[in-house]
Symmetry: C2
Subunit: 110 residues, 2 copies
């Protein structure tokens, strides 16, 4: 594996890793609907605001979201619009597993 390919895989992995957390996926879904301030996201998530802030930092550092301070609030939005299309394949994985699971259950007698 050459160095250039390795660098590219590292870069992709960093983006995926930033998305690979339920709270951060929630944030991405909500931001798909439009920008949100930290306070509103925090209210929806129901965790400590410092926890939510750190999740947002992870997303920002991965280049997934942008922040915009207005007054004493910070609004976050998606940097690229496609993030959610992206899930079609994740869903395929989930469905494929569900199907096999159903087949297995049928074999063992429900």
């Amino acid at each position: 594996m050459d160095q250039q390919r390795k660098n590219h895989l590292d870069a992709r992995a960093r983006v995926l890793k930033a998305m690979a957390h339920p709270t951060r996926l929630f944030i991405i879904e909500e931001l798909e609907k439009g920008e949100q301030c930290v306070c509103d996201l925090t209210a929806m998530i129901g965790a400590d605001i410092s926890t939510v802030s750190k999740h947002l930092t992870v997303l920002r550092q991965a280049g997934i979201v942008l922040d915009d301070k207005r007054g004493n609030q910070v609004f976050y939005r998606l940097r690229v619009p496609c993030i959610l299309n992206f899930f079609g394949c994740v869903e395929s994985v989930l469905e494929s597993r569900a199907k096999d699971q159903a087949a297995y259950l049928a074999v063992v007698g429900k």
Copy 2:
């Protein structure tokens, strides 16, 4: 956030997390070209075979790959074909960041 949504986010996050490692992305890319045995993947990756085997276990448990033992070799293949299409958006994130980085470098005088 209701329980059903939480479950769904958890399920998606688990799939993404399984993909979020450079070695596992490499494996996915190689399997896109066709099934491979553990030995060939190990040779390409250049890590200990036990390390590669554990990465494959992560991918299998996430429902991303399937294994097939034939003789004393185990062949792995992708369970769903779309995994790599999936990266268009990851690339957008990376390009978007590169663009901003370039703009920043221009501002500070290269």
